[in-house]
């Protein structure tokens, strides 16, 4: 195995989050009754014509700017001709020779902590196809064209990735980015974010790429990793067995965990691309591009760099917090309410207790039962020593369950930290009186017993005594 190198390029299809189709004014909403959102244009009715959706162009431009790419001021729609039941016109309108976005890049963080740049060859606009439903209608397949004409941004990478892990890292970065930009909802189950992988292997040291296979139908990060690894092993097996790889399109079967050649795509395709005569060249000027640029949010990499520099977070923490715009927004809302100087505390809580609770309930941060203001309210009580970190976890659980703010729970459950020196001294005195043997042993040199006394104080105070004060007072009292 080690004598082969894997080469992976990805083609990502991101459905753009427009309200209407790319060339028609029918809705793109998911889950409607079959063909209820396919209008005459989507159905390819005789005589109808496409008209381009401005929002799709704007979104593609936004993506291009975010990956540092060239946004073409003139792009052209072409027809890709082939017959398939989910393709009503017998051609797909796509960009071929002149895509709207060219030559971008995306940095990914490798496991060893180093950064790798993956080249993005192009991103172009095109229309999605409909769906063939294979449930049996007396030997027939059913065709639903609701999805036909939904705008897609096809993002084509260079063959720059060398392992399934790198491919996943790149894919996740793109996934994060399109959601940051609010140009795609990223929903892989509904097919809003899909990926085809071009996979080949070559002997280490060989410059020429091996013959590649294209794997289709990859709709979860887990499947993609499995599919690539399966495909790599399959290709190496063939080569080591003296065989050659046939260039083909393969389908990943998640039930069997393997890829298989696609029957319908066996014949060599001749797509007969030519400029679509129903559509004119798309011209966008610098004013348009600049206006789109002004709508760009702080991008994930910029945000992470800021967290590292300004908040002294680790690269890992910064990466986790910026992995989704919603999570970062939440974190920053906590910071805003909490005040400066507590970035690390807030980061630990957002990545720890909060993320744990979200995962447990299987909900997104936007649906969190504890909003950023309330979490900040809780953290403030740690900062001002009203409660300890340990009690705070208890309070958080109650906040999650009861929809109350931290102070109300601290108050009602009497969890307020004891910081009254006299009160703590009184407890210590009682404990020393009740444990004469341990006191004697401690004083004769058994330092380890200090922990015993701390434990006893916390037990009596129900964990509410301020730990720092307990330490100080105990040290003084036990010393006699």
């Amino acid at each position: 195995m080690s004598s082969f190198e894997t080469v992976i390029g990805l083609e990502i299809h991101a459905q753009l989050a427009t309200k209407t189709k790319i060339f028609s004014s029918a809705s793109t909403a998911f889950g409607a009754a079959p063909n209820s959102q396919a209008n005459l244009v989507d159905l390819g009715y005789p005589g109808v014509l496409p008209v381009l959706n401005l929002e799709a162009v704007r979104m593609a431009t936004k993506f291009g700017l975010a990956i540092g790419a060239t946004v073409s001021q003139r792009s052209v729609f072409a027809r890709k001709n082939y017959f398939y039941p989910d393709l009503p016109k017998g051609y797909q309108i796509s960009q071929y020779e002149k895509p709207i976005v060219e030559k971008g890049r995306m940095d990914i963080l490798l496991e060893d902590g180093s950064v790798k740049t993956v080249g993005i060859t192009r991103a172009h606009l095109e229309e999605d196809a409909g769906k063939s439903l294979h449930e049996d209608f007396q030997g027939f397949s059913g065709i639903d064209l609701n999805r036909a004409g939904t705008p897609l941004l096809e993002i084509v990478s260079e063959p720059d990735m060398r392992s399934a892990k790198e491919a996943i890292a790149y894919l996740k970065k793109i996934h994060t980015l399109v959601r940051y930009l609010e140009i795609c909802d990223g929903n892989m189950q509904e097919g809003s974010f899909r990926c085809d992988a071009n996979v080949s292997v070559r002997p280490v040291g060989q410059e020429k790429f091996g013959t590649r296979c294209e794997i289709k139908n990859l709709n979860s990060f887990r499947f993609i990793e499995k599919a690539i690894n399966y495909e790599v092993a399959r290709q190496i097996d063939i080569i080591e067995g003296g065989g050659t790889i046939r260039q083909e399109t393969r389908l990943y079967d998640p039930d069997r965990g393997e890829t298989r050649a696609l029957r319908s795509k066996e014949e060599a395709n001749d797509y007969r691309y030519f400029p679509d005569p129903d559509l004119l060249p798309v011209a966008i000027d610098t004013a348009f591009i600049d206006a789109v640029r002004r709508t760009l949010p702080e991008l994930p990499d910029e945000k992470a760099a800021r967290y590292i520099e300004k908040f002294s977070l680790s690269a890992y923490d910064a990466g986790v917090l910026t992995a989704s715009r919603e999570m970062a927004d939440y974190y920053e809302a906590v910071l805003a309410a909490l005040g400066a100087g507590q970035e690390k505390l807030a980061a630990n809580w957002v990545m720890g207790e909060l993320s744990g609770a979200l995962n447990k309930d299987g909900i997104e941060v936007t649906a969190s039962r504890v909003d950023a203001g309330r979490l900040a309210g809780l953290l403030k009580r740690i900062v001002d020593e009203t409660i300890s970190g340990k009690i705070a976890k208890e309070v958080f659980e109650s906040m999650w369950a009861e929809d109350k703010d931290a102070d109300a729970i601290i108050e009602s459950k009497g969890l307020k930290q004891i910081t009254d020196t006299g009160a703590i001294e009184k407890v210590i005195d009682e404990i020393m009186a009740a444990n004469p043997k341990q006191l004697a042993d401690y004083r004769s040199g058994k330092d380890k017993l200090f922990g015993f006394f701390v434990g006893q104080v916390m037990k009596v105070t129900g964990g509410k005594a301020n730990p720092a004060q307990v330490n100080d007072l105990l040290k003084r009292k036990l010393a006699g």
Binding site: L40, L43, G44, Y45, P46, G47, V48, L49, P50, V51, L52, R79, N81, F83, P85, P88, K89, G90, Y91, I143, D270, R272, Y273, F274, P277, D278, L279, L280
Partner: protein, 487 residues
Amino acid sequence: MTELHHQTLAELAAGLKARRFSSVELTRHFLSRIERFNPELNALVTITGEQALAAAAKADQQLAAGAGGPLTGLPIAHKDIFCTDGVLTTCGSKMLSNFVAPYDATIVEKLSQAGVISLGKANMDEFAMGSSNETSFFGPVKNPWDLKKVPGGSSGGSAAVVAARMAPASTGTDTGGSIRQPAALTSLTGIKPTYGRVSRYGMIAFASSLDQAGTLTQSAEDAALLLGAMAGFDPRDSTSVDTPVPDYTATLDQPLAGLKIGLLKEFFEKGLDEANGKLVRDALKVYEAMGAKLVEVSLPNLPLSVPTYYVVAPAECSSNLSRFDGVRFGYRCEKPVDLLDLYKRSRGEGFGAEVKRRIMTGTYVLSAGYYDAYYLKAQKIRRLIANDFERAFGEVDVLIGPTSPTPAFDIGAKVDDPITMYLNDIYTIGANLAGLPAMSIPCGFLGGLPVGLQIIGPHFGEAKLLNVAHRYQRETQWHREIPQAYR
């Protein structure tokens, strides 16, 4: 009173306004002529008598109330390439012989809103591919001037229906001459406007970058009236151009003194019938008498327009016609054994031979290994031809020449030789490739058969073309001739 069917649209409009007759009377008159003559001419595929009479009654109410526009209450026929909501729209094909369009084409909608009444749908070459109306699934259309002759194509039904005065005017489409050539062969005035002037929405596409809708009428004045109501920007057609539509009738009478007429050297050189050429030269004398100046111009790349066209048009058609797959609309073969069989037989059985030839030609010129040599090359030559025209219009106001190399030929004479058939369009194709407006007007007869004069203008020069045509029609009476049997 002059017979209703001897009157032009403009005259009928005046009659309606003056309440000399009602729209219902007018509509009945033409419906009865259709009933009488259509069986022998086969000009209309569908006759919508009931709807027409209902619309006429509505128009009469409007007219009685002093409302309505200049076209309210006038009946016409639509080429069966335009989608008409709830009405069979066949495009002359078996493929669409059962197709009821669920929407109106923009021009159908616009004319209907202007109060125009549709008498029915006119026969045509299948998917507008043909120059003789012999490729129609519904059989050939006969030329009212001689029933043995073709009426031209592809708007052959639209031409015959007006030539035999079964309707005072009709709509057509012109991809390579499909309005002008039938107009020439039936003694009508046909105009193909500038590409983008009239919406293509709802017009079943043959070759999208060449197709343009227009009219077949008895006079340039009628063309001005009807085109004015059809033209204009349509947000549903990305290639429709957003420039105001002038009142074409306002400039019809402008004098032509000083008009510079370009004579295309290439048009008079070869392929033109001697006698035909003489009629064109006679017409030019009429213009000279009106003060126009004749200038010979050369368009060196124009002779390549036929081969250029027969790459570009089939390429676009091969893709445009892929949607006819037997699934959502149109003909579906019996008992397909699998998907491939469904596609191949539905299309193989649903399309006629000429359509299949063009689809295959187009498929071939776009396919891997041939794209550059054929399609890309043709697109480059198309630019050279367009540049030639642009240069010419730097020197002259309009170009005038023949519309068709010969008058109407016998039905069946050219069906076995596609190349000879294609060469019928030798004078008309250039305007389509360059997107220019062009007209054909009657300029005489040869052996009893009409001959057309073609006038080509610069982009958006329709008003000038109509003016040039109208002034000729003030000096001559060729356009008022009606075939003996249909007077």
